[in-house]
Protein backbone atom coordinates (compact mmCIF):
# COMPACT_ATOMS: atom_id res chain seq x y z
CA UNK A 1 0.00 0.00 0.00
CA UNK A 2 2.05 2.94 1.20
CA UNK A 3 5.82 3.20 0.93
CA UNK A 4 7.94 3.14 4.04
CA UNK A 5 9.49 6.51 3.29
CA UNK A 6 7.86 9.86 3.90
CA UNK A 7 6.34 11.28 0.78
CA UNK A 8 7.96 14.59 1.69
CA UNK A 9 11.56 13.84 0.78
CA UNK A 10 12.94 16.77 2.70
CA UNK A 11 11.27 15.51 5.90
CA UNK A 12 12.68 12.06 5.25
CA UNK A 13 16.11 13.60 4.81
CA UNK A 14 15.82 15.59 8.04
CA UNK A 15 15.00 12.46 10.02
CA UNK A 16 17.88 10.55 8.42
CA UNK A 17 20.22 13.42 9.20
CA UNK A 18 19.08 13.39 12.81
CA UNK A 19 19.72 9.68 13.09
CA UNK A 20 23.17 9.91 11.54
CA UNK A 21 24.26 12.78 13.74
CA UNK A 22 23.05 10.92 16.81
CA UNK A 23 25.17 7.93 15.85
CA UNK A 24 28.20 10.15 15.29
CA UNK A 25 27.71 11.65 18.72
CA UNK A 26 27.37 8.14 20.15
CA UNK A 27 30.64 7.02 18.64
CA UNK A 28 32.44 10.12 19.99
CA UNK A 29 31.19 9.21 23.47
CA UNK A 30 32.26 5.59 23.03
CA UNK A 31 35.75 6.84 22.19
CA UNK A 32 35.84 9.06 25.24
CA UNK A 33 35.03 6.07 27.48
CA UNK A 34 37.75 3.95 25.86
CA UNK A 35 40.34 6.73 25.90
CA UNK A 36 39.70 7.58 29.54
CA UNK A 37 40.33 3.96 30.59
CA UNK A 38 43.40 3.76 28.36
CA UNK A 39 44.69 6.96 29.93
CA UNK A 40 44.28 5.32 33.33
CA UNK A 41 45.96 2.04 32.34
CA UNK A 42 48.81 3.72 30.50
CA UNK A 43 49.19 6.54 33.06
CA UNK A 44 48.94 8.66 29.92
CA UNK A 45 48.62 12.33 30.81
CA UNK A 46 48.55 13.70 27.22
CA UNK A 47 45.74 11.24 26.34
CA UNK A 48 43.79 12.28 29.42
CA UNK A 49 44.16 15.94 28.44
CA UNK A 50 43.14 15.26 24.82
CA UNK A 51 40.10 13.34 26.02
CA UNK A 52 39.02 16.22 28.24
CA UNK A 53 39.25 18.54 25.22
CA UNK A 54 37.25 16.09 23.06
CA UNK A 55 34.25 16.65 25.33
CA UNK A 56 33.79 20.04 23.68
CA UNK A 57 32.77 18.29 20.45
CA UNK A 58 30.16 16.30 22.30
CA UNK A 59 28.74 19.43 23.93
CA UNK A 60 28.51 21.15 20.56
CA UNK A 61 26.68 18.17 19.10
CA UNK A 62 24.20 18.18 21.96
CA UNK A 63 23.27 21.76 21.12
CA UNK A 64 23.03 21.04 17.38
CA UNK A 65 20.89 17.95 17.80
CA UNK A 66 18.53 19.69 20.22
CA UNK A 67 18.15 22.47 17.67
CA UNK A 68 17.37 20.04 14.86
CA UNK A 69 14.75 18.29 16.98
CA UNK A 70 13.10 21.57 17.85
CA UNK A 71 12.92 22.53 14.18
CA UNK A 72 11.36 19.24 13.18
CA UNK A 73 8.82 19.46 16.00
CA UNK A 74 7.83 22.97 14.99
CA UNK A 75 7.68 22.43 11.25
CA UNK A 76 6.55 18.85 10.83
CA UNK A 77 4.22 18.14 13.80
CA UNK A 78 5.44 14.54 13.92
CA UNK A 79 3.17 11.79 15.23
CA UNK A 80 3.37 8.11 16.20
CA UNK A 81 6.80 6.54 15.58
CA UNK A 82 8.27 9.80 14.29
CA UNK A 83 7.15 11.59 17.44
CA UNK A 84 8.58 8.87 19.67
CA UNK A 85 11.83 9.03 17.71
CA UNK A 86 12.22 12.81 18.04
CA UNK A 87 11.39 12.90 21.76
CA UNK A 88 13.77 9.98 22.21
CA UNK A 89 16.61 11.80 20.46
CA UNK A 90 16.12 14.78 22.80
CA UNK A 91 16.55 12.53 25.83
CA UNK A 92 19.31 10.34 24.38
CA UNK A 93 21.40 13.38 23.60
CA UNK A 94 21.21 14.48 27.24
CA UNK A 95 22.28 11.05 28.51
CA UNK A 96 25.13 10.83 25.99
CA UNK A 97 26.41 14.21 27.04
CA UNK A 98 26.33 13.11 30.70
CA UNK A 99 28.28 9.96 29.86
CA UNK A 100 30.91 12.09 28.11
CA UNK A 101 31.10 14.38 31.16
CA UNK A 102 31.74 11.32 33.34
CA UNK A 103 34.54 10.37 30.95
CA UNK A 104 36.03 13.80 31.55
CA UNK A 105 35.71 13.25 35.30
CA UNK A 106 37.64 9.96 34.92
CA UNK A 107 40.42 11.80 33.07
CA UNK A 108 40.60 14.47 35.77
CA UNK A 109 41.12 11.74 38.39
CA UNK A 110 43.73 10.11 36.12
CA UNK A 111 45.70 13.36 36.02
CA UNK A 112 45.68 13.37 39.81
CA UNK A 113 46.72 9.71 40.00
CA UNK A 114 49.54 10.21 37.50
CA UNK A 115 51.24 12.50 40.00
CA UNK A 116 51.56 9.48 42.37
CA UNK A 117 52.92 5.93 42.02
CA UNK A 118 50.31 3.35 41.01
CA UNK A 119 48.49 1.91 44.01
CA UNK A 120 47.76 -1.56 42.61
CA UNK A 121 47.31 -3.41 39.33
CA UNK A 122 44.02 -2.40 37.72
CA UNK A 123 41.78 -5.38 36.98
CA UNK A 124 38.15 -4.70 37.76
CA UNK A 125 38.06 -1.06 36.70
CA UNK A 126 39.14 -1.85 33.12
CA UNK A 127 36.59 -4.69 33.11
CA UNK A 128 33.92 -2.16 34.07
CA UNK A 129 35.15 0.14 31.33
CA UNK A 130 34.99 -2.59 28.68
CA UNK A 131 31.52 -3.62 29.78
CA UNK A 132 30.19 -0.06 29.72
CA UNK A 133 31.69 0.64 26.31
CA UNK A 134 30.17 -2.54 24.94
CA UNK A 135 26.76 -1.71 26.49
CA UNK A 136 26.80 1.68 24.81
CA UNK A 137 27.80 0.21 21.45
CA UNK A 138 25.03 -2.38 21.73
CA UNK A 139 22.39 0.18 22.67
CA UNK A 140 23.30 2.28 19.62
CA UNK A 141 23.12 -0.86 17.48
CA UNK A 142 19.73 -1.69 18.99
CA UNK A 143 18.61 1.83 18.16
CA UNK A 144 19.71 1.56 14.52
CA UNK A 145 18.21 -1.91 14.13
CA UNK A 146 15.03 -0.88 16.02
CA UNK A 147 15.53 -4.01 18.10
CA UNK A 148 13.74 -3.80 21.44
CA UNK A 149 14.86 -7.29 22.52
CA UNK A 150 18.49 -6.35 22.12
CA UNK A 151 17.81 -3.25 24.20
CA UNK A 152 16.19 -5.33 26.95
CA UNK A 153 19.35 -7.47 27.30
CA UNK A 154 21.39 -4.35 27.99
CA UNK A 155 19.20 -3.48 30.97
CA UNK A 156 20.17 -6.80 32.59
CA UNK A 157 23.88 -6.16 32.11
CA UNK A 158 23.74 -3.14 34.41
CA UNK A 159 23.78 -5.60 37.30
CA UNK A 160 27.16 -6.91 36.19
CA UNK A 161 28.60 -3.41 36.40
CA UNK A 162 26.98 -2.84 39.79
CA UNK A 163 28.52 -6.07 41.10
CA UNK A 164 31.97 -5.08 39.80
CA UNK A 165 31.64 -1.69 41.48
CA UNK A 166 30.82 -3.36 44.80
CA UNK A 167 33.90 -5.51 44.41
CA UNK A 168 36.14 -2.53 43.61
CA UNK A 169 34.78 -0.59 46.54
CA UNK A 170 35.42 -3.44 48.98
CA UNK A 171 38.96 -3.89 47.75
CA UNK A 172 39.80 -0.18 47.89
CA UNK A 173 38.35 -0.01 51.38
CA UNK A 174 40.88 -2.60 52.58
CA UNK A 175 43.71 -0.57 51.01
CA UNK A 176 42.51 2.54 52.85
CA UNK A 177 42.26 0.69 56.14
CA UNK A 178 45.78 -0.72 55.69
CA UNK A 179 47.42 2.68 55.44
CA UNK A 180 46.46 6.33 55.47
CA UNK A 181 49.09 6.75 52.76
CA UNK A 182 46.77 4.88 50.39
CA UNK A 183 43.69 7.01 50.96
CA UNK A 184 44.34 9.72 48.34
CA UNK A 185 44.84 7.23 45.49
CA UNK A 186 42.14 4.81 46.66
CA UNK A 187 39.49 7.52 46.77
CA UNK A 188 40.41 8.65 43.26
CA UNK A 189 40.07 5.09 42.02
CA UNK A 190 36.80 4.67 43.84
CA UNK A 191 35.53 7.82 42.12
CA UNK A 192 36.54 6.44 38.74
CA UNK A 193 34.67 3.22 39.44
CA UNK A 194 31.67 5.25 40.52
CA UNK A 195 31.73 7.25 37.29
CA UNK A 196 31.75 4.01 35.30
CA UNK A 197 28.84 2.67 37.32
CA UNK A 198 26.91 5.85 36.56
CA UNK A 199 27.76 5.54 32.87
CA UNK A 200 26.18 2.09 32.94
CA UNK A 201 23.05 3.58 34.52
CA UNK A 202 22.81 6.19 31.78
CA UNK A 203 23.26 3.51 29.14
CA UNK A 204 20.44 1.54 30.74
CA UNK A 205 18.26 4.65 30.42
CA UNK A 206 19.10 4.69 26.72
CA UNK A 207 18.03 1.07 26.41
CA UNK A 208 14.66 1.86 28.00
CA UNK A 209 14.21 4.70 25.54
CA UNK A 210 14.92 2.41 22.58
CA UNK A 211 12.25 0.03 23.83
CA UNK A 212 9.81 2.94 24.01
CA UNK A 213 10.71 4.11 20.52
CA UNK A 214 10.27 0.66 19.00
CA UNK A 215 7.37 -0.79 21.00
CA UNK A 216 5.66 2.33 22.28
CA UNK A 217 5.99 0.75 25.72
CA UNK A 218 7.32 2.89 28.57
CA UNK A 219 9.39 0.50 30.71
CA UNK A 220 11.12 3.07 32.86
CA UNK A 221 11.24 2.41 36.61
CA UNK A 222 9.84 -1.09 36.19
CA UNK A 223 12.96 -3.25 36.36
CA UNK A 224 14.37 -5.19 39.32
CA UNK A 225 17.27 -2.75 39.29
CA UNK A 226 15.14 -0.40 41.34
CA UNK A 227 14.74 -3.04 44.06
CA UNK A 228 18.52 -3.57 44.14
CA UNK A 229 19.13 0.12 44.67
CA UNK A 230 16.91 0.52 47.68
CA UNK A 231 18.63 -2.39 49.44
CA UNK A 232 22.27 -1.32 48.84
CA UNK A 233 22.97 2.35 49.63
CA UNK A 234 26.22 2.30 47.63
CA UNK A 235 24.22 1.86 44.42
CA UNK A 236 22.17 5.01 44.76
CA UNK A 237 21.55 6.67 41.42
CA UNK A 238 22.10 10.40 41.34
Amino acid sequence: MFGREHTDREYEHELLQLREQLLVMGSHVESIIGDSINALLGRDTPLAERTIAADRTVNRMEVELDGLCLQILARRQPVASDLRFITLVLKVVTDLERIADLGVNICERVLELNAEPQLKPYVDIPRMGTEVQSMLRDVLDAFVAKDADRARKIIDRDQVVDALYAQVFRELLTFMMESAHNVYRATRLQSIAKYLERMADHTTNLAEMVIFMVDGEDVRHLTSRDDLETSDPRHGRN
Binding site: M1, F2, T7, Y11, V79, A80
Partner: protein, 263 residues
Amino acid sequence: MNTQAALATDKEILGSVRVQGLVVYYGDKRALGPVDMMIPGKQVTALIGPSGCGKSTFLRSLNRMNEMVIGCRVEGDVRLNDEPIYGSGVDAVAVRRRIGMVFQKSNPFPKSIFDNVAYGLRIGGLTDRSELGGRVEQALKHSALWEEVKDRLHESALGLSGGQQQRLCIARALAVAPDVILMDEPASALDPIATAHIEELIHELARDYTVVIVTHNMQQAARVSHNTAFFYMGDLIEFDRTESIFTKPKQPKTEDYITGRFG
Protein backbone atom coordinates in the same frame (compact mmCIF):
# COMPACT_ATOMS: atom_id res chain seq x y z
CA MET B 1 -8.54 -8.26 13.04
CA ASN B 2 -10.60 -6.65 15.73
CA THR B 3 -11.42 -3.11 14.71
CA GLN B 4 -13.98 -2.66 17.41
CA ALA B 5 -12.54 -0.77 20.35
CA ALA B 6 -14.21 -1.20 23.72
CA LEU B 7 -14.52 2.50 24.30
CA ALA B 8 -18.05 2.73 25.64
CA THR B 9 -19.22 2.00 29.14
CA ASP B 10 -22.73 1.89 30.53
CA LYS B 11 -22.37 5.51 31.56
CA GLU B 12 -21.63 6.51 27.99
CA ILE B 13 -24.47 4.63 26.35
CA LEU B 14 -26.55 7.84 26.12
CA GLY B 15 -26.00 9.28 22.69
CA SER B 16 -23.94 6.30 21.59
CA VAL B 17 -24.18 5.05 18.03
CA ARG B 18 -23.62 1.35 17.37
CA VAL B 19 -22.78 0.29 13.83
CA GLN B 20 -22.88 -3.38 12.87
CA GLY B 21 -22.16 -4.94 9.54
CA LEU B 22 -22.67 -1.65 7.68
CA VAL B 23 -22.14 -1.94 3.93
CA VAL B 24 -22.88 0.83 1.43
CA TYR B 25 -23.22 0.26 -2.32
CA TYR B 26 -23.35 2.83 -5.08
CA GLY B 27 -25.03 0.74 -7.79
CA ASP B 28 -23.04 -2.49 -7.92
CA LYS B 29 -19.93 -1.01 -6.42
CA ARG B 30 -19.25 -1.64 -2.75
CA ALA B 31 -18.12 1.75 -1.49
CA LEU B 32 -17.80 0.96 2.18
CA GLY B 33 -17.76 -1.86 4.68
CA PRO B 34 -18.55 -4.09 6.28
CA VAL B 35 -17.93 -1.84 9.25
CA ASP B 36 -18.47 -2.51 12.96
CA MET B 37 -18.03 0.45 15.27
CA MET B 38 -19.25 1.59 18.65
CA ILE B 39 -19.24 5.39 18.78
CA PRO B 40 -19.29 6.47 22.43
CA GLY B 41 -21.90 9.00 23.50
CA LYS B 42 -20.97 12.57 24.46
CA GLN B 43 -17.51 12.28 22.99
CA VAL B 44 -15.96 13.56 19.79
CA THR B 45 -15.06 10.88 17.27
CA ALA B 46 -13.00 11.87 14.25
CA LEU B 47 -13.02 9.99 10.94
CA ILE B 48 -9.81 10.31 8.96
CA GLY B 49 -8.41 8.79 5.80
CA PRO B 50 -7.40 9.70 2.24
CA SER B 51 -9.88 10.92 -0.38
CA GLY B 52 -12.27 8.21 -1.47
CA CYS B 53 -11.68 6.07 1.63
CA GLY B 54 -15.36 6.05 2.57
CA LYS B 55 -15.34 8.29 5.62
CA SER B 56 -17.95 10.71 4.27
CA THR B 57 -20.06 7.80 3.03
CA PHE B 58 -19.85 6.37 6.53
CA LEU B 59 -20.83 9.69 8.08
CA ARG B 60 -23.84 10.03 5.82
CA SER B 61 -24.93 6.52 6.76
CA LEU B 62 -25.31 7.62 10.33
CA ASN B 63 -28.32 9.79 9.55
CA ARG B 64 -29.62 8.20 6.37
CA MET B 65 -28.37 11.03 4.17
CA ASN B 66 -27.13 8.37 1.77
CA GLU B 67 -30.73 7.83 0.75
CA MET B 68 -30.55 11.18 -1.05
CA VAL B 69 -28.06 9.60 -3.45
CA ILE B 70 -29.65 7.75 -6.37
CA GLY B 71 -28.52 4.13 -6.60
CA CYS B 72 -27.25 4.03 -3.06
CA ARG B 73 -28.03 0.91 -1.06
CA VAL B 74 -27.29 0.39 2.63
CA GLU B 75 -27.06 -2.92 4.48
CA GLY B 76 -26.44 -3.61 8.13
CA ASP B 77 -27.54 -2.02 11.33
CA VAL B 78 -27.10 1.43 12.84
CA ARG B 79 -28.56 2.17 16.25
CA LEU B 80 -28.82 5.34 18.29
CA ASN B 81 -29.14 4.54 22.00
CA ASP B 82 -29.93 1.00 20.88
CA GLU B 83 -32.84 2.10 18.65
CA PRO B 84 -32.42 1.22 14.98
CA ILE B 85 -32.40 4.18 12.57
CA TYR B 86 -32.95 2.03 9.47
CA GLY B 87 -35.98 -0.09 8.91
CA SER B 88 -39.36 0.21 7.30
CA GLY B 89 -41.00 1.60 10.41
CA VAL B 90 -38.49 4.33 11.03
CA ASP B 91 -39.07 7.92 9.93
CA ALA B 92 -35.93 9.22 8.19
CA VAL B 93 -36.82 12.85 8.90
CA ALA B 94 -37.12 12.12 12.60
CA VAL B 95 -33.74 10.42 12.46
CA ARG B 96 -32.18 13.51 10.88
CA ARG B 97 -33.61 15.69 13.60
CA ARG B 98 -31.95 13.60 16.27
CA ILE B 99 -28.79 13.11 14.26
CA GLY B 100 -28.09 16.52 12.75
CA MET B 101 -25.52 17.40 10.12
CA VAL B 102 -23.24 20.32 9.34
CA PHE B 103 -21.47 20.54 6.00
CA GLN B 104 -18.15 21.80 4.69
CA LYS B 105 -19.70 24.67 2.85
CA SER B 106 -22.04 26.38 5.24
CA ASN B 107 -25.50 26.65 3.78
CA PRO B 108 -27.54 29.27 5.63
CA PHE B 109 -30.96 29.78 4.18
CA PRO B 110 -31.54 33.16 2.47
CA LYS B 111 -33.53 34.26 5.52
CA SER B 112 -32.88 36.14 8.72
CA ILE B 113 -30.58 34.74 11.37
CA PHE B 114 -33.58 34.10 13.58
CA ASP B 115 -35.59 32.35 10.88
CA ASN B 116 -32.65 30.10 10.03
CA VAL B 117 -32.45 28.77 13.53
CA ALA B 118 -36.21 28.67 14.03
CA TYR B 119 -36.82 26.84 10.75
CA GLY B 120 -36.58 23.29 12.07
CA LEU B 121 -38.69 24.17 15.10
CA ARG B 122 -41.43 25.71 12.99
CA ILE B 123 -41.43 22.75 10.61
CA GLY B 124 -41.81 20.57 13.70
CA GLY B 125 -44.95 22.50 14.63
CA LEU B 126 -43.71 25.00 17.21
CA THR B 127 -45.53 28.32 16.82
CA ASP B 128 -45.45 29.89 20.29
CA ARG B 129 -43.31 32.98 19.78
CA SER B 130 -41.78 33.23 23.23
CA GLU B 131 -40.82 29.59 23.24
CA LEU B 132 -39.38 29.92 19.73
CA GLY B 133 -37.41 32.94 20.90
CA GLY B 134 -36.08 31.03 23.89
CA ARG B 135 -35.06 27.99 21.86
CA VAL B 136 -33.37 30.15 19.21
CA GLU B 137 -31.43 32.03 21.87
CA GLN B 138 -30.34 28.82 23.54
CA ALA B 139 -29.20 27.29 20.26
CA LEU B 140 -27.23 30.42 19.36
CA LYS B 141 -25.61 30.42 22.79
CA HIS B 142 -24.70 26.75 22.46
CA SER B 143 -23.05 27.49 19.14
CA ALA B 144 -21.13 30.44 20.59
CA LEU B 145 -22.80 32.90 18.21
CA TRP B 146 -25.34 34.64 20.45
CA GLU B 147 -23.18 37.54 21.62
CA GLU B 148 -22.26 38.42 18.05
CA VAL B 149 -25.80 38.39 16.63
CA LYS B 150 -28.21 39.06 19.48
CA ASP B 151 -28.78 42.64 18.35
CA ARG B 152 -29.40 41.78 14.71
CA LEU B 153 -31.40 38.58 14.72
CA HIS B 154 -33.64 39.82 11.95
CA GLU B 155 -30.83 40.68 9.58
CA SER B 156 -30.03 38.34 6.72
CA ALA B 157 -27.89 35.35 7.57
CA LEU B 158 -26.02 35.88 4.32
CA GLY B 159 -24.40 38.98 5.79
CA LEU B 160 -22.47 36.92 8.34
CA SER B 161 -18.81 35.95 7.92
CA GLY B 162 -17.87 32.41 6.87
CA GLY B 163 -17.11 31.34 10.41
CA GLN B 164 -20.31 32.90 11.73
CA GLN B 165 -22.37 31.22 9.02
CA GLN B 166 -20.93 27.89 9.98
CA ARG B 167 -21.79 28.45 13.61
CA LEU B 168 -25.27 29.47 12.49
CA CYS B 169 -25.65 26.14 10.73
CA ILE B 170 -24.57 24.44 13.93
CA ALA B 171 -27.16 26.46 15.86
CA ARG B 172 -29.78 25.41 13.34
CA ALA B 173 -28.93 21.77 13.99
CA LEU B 174 -28.86 22.30 17.76
CA ALA B 175 -32.24 24.03 17.86
CA VAL B 176 -34.12 20.76 17.34
CA ALA B 177 -32.34 19.16 20.31
CA PRO B 178 -30.40 16.40 18.59
CA ASP B 179 -28.48 13.61 20.30
CA VAL B 180 -25.75 13.54 17.72
CA ILE B 181 -24.12 16.14 15.50
CA LEU B 182 -22.36 15.00 12.36
CA MET B 183 -19.84 17.37 10.81
CA ASP B 184 -18.33 16.92 7.36
CA GLU B 185 -15.10 18.98 7.21
CA PRO B 186 -16.75 21.83 9.10
CA ALA B 187 -13.71 24.09 9.19
CA SER B 188 -11.92 23.38 5.91
CA ALA B 189 -13.30 26.52 4.27
CA LEU B 190 -12.40 28.75 7.22
CA ASP B 191 -9.31 30.76 8.18
CA PRO B 192 -7.23 29.73 11.21
CA ILE B 193 -9.01 32.01 13.66
CA ALA B 194 -12.49 30.89 12.62
CA THR B 195 -11.21 27.31 12.67
CA ALA B 196 -9.99 27.74 16.22
CA HIS B 197 -13.43 29.00 17.24
CA ILE B 198 -15.12 26.01 15.64
CA GLU B 199 -12.71 23.62 17.34
CA GLU B 200 -13.32 25.29 20.69
CA LEU B 201 -17.04 24.94 20.04
CA ILE B 202 -16.72 21.25 19.18
CA HIS B 203 -14.95 20.75 22.47
CA GLU B 204 -17.85 22.39 24.35
CA LEU B 205 -20.55 20.61 22.35
CA ALA B 206 -19.21 17.25 23.45
CA ARG B 207 -20.45 17.97 26.96
CA ASP B 208 -24.02 17.63 25.76
CA TYR B 209 -23.91 15.95 22.36
CA THR B 210 -22.18 13.14 20.57
CA VAL B 211 -20.06 14.63 17.80
CA VAL B 212 -18.75 12.75 14.77
CA ILE B 213 -16.48 14.76 12.52
CA VAL B 214 -14.91 13.96 9.16
CA THR B 215 -11.68 15.84 8.60
CA HIS B 216 -8.80 15.60 6.17
CA ASN B 217 -6.72 17.65 8.62
CA MET B 218 -5.02 15.15 10.87
CA GLN B 219 -3.78 17.72 13.31
CA GLN B 220 -7.35 18.88 13.73
CA ALA B 221 -8.48 15.31 14.42
CA ALA B 222 -5.69 15.03 16.99
CA ARG B 223 -6.72 18.33 18.61
CA VAL B 224 -10.47 17.97 18.84
CA SER B 225 -11.34 14.31 19.18
CA HIS B 226 -11.45 11.71 21.95
CA ASN B 227 -11.52 8.83 19.47
CA THR B 228 -10.27 8.46 15.93
CA ALA B 229 -11.27 6.04 13.17
CA PHE B 230 -8.99 5.54 10.19
CA PHE B 231 -10.60 4.46 6.91
CA TYR B 232 -8.79 3.27 3.81
CA MET B 233 -10.33 2.14 0.50
CA GLY B 234 -13.73 1.48 1.99
CA ASP B 235 -12.51 -0.38 5.07
CA LEU B 236 -12.22 0.63 8.70
CA ILE B 237 -8.57 -0.05 9.47
CA GLU B 238 -8.29 1.08 13.08
CA PHE B 239 -10.46 2.71 15.75
CA ASP B 240 -9.03 3.75 19.10
CA ARG B 241 -8.52 6.59 21.59
CA THR B 242 -6.99 9.53 19.74
CA GLU B 243 -3.90 9.68 21.94
CA SER B 244 -3.17 6.03 21.11
CA ILE B 245 -3.70 6.47 17.39
CA PHE B 246 -1.31 9.41 17.28
CA THR B 247 1.40 8.07 19.60
CA LYS B 248 1.39 4.31 18.95
CA PRO B 249 -1.07 3.14 16.30
CA LYS B 250 -1.49 -0.63 16.03
CA GLN B 251 -1.92 -0.99 12.28
CA PRO B 252 0.98 -0.31 9.86
CA LYS B 253 -1.43 1.37 7.42
CA THR B 254 -2.54 3.79 10.13
CA GLU B 255 1.07 4.50 11.06
CA ASP B 256 2.00 5.12 7.42
CA TYR B 257 -0.94 7.44 6.76
CA ILE B 258 -0.65 9.64 9.84
CA THR B 259 3.13 9.99 9.55
CA GLY B 260 2.95 10.98 5.89
CA ARG B 261 4.28 7.84 4.25
CA PHE B 262 1.87 7.84 1.34
CA GLY B 263 4.09 6.10 -1.19
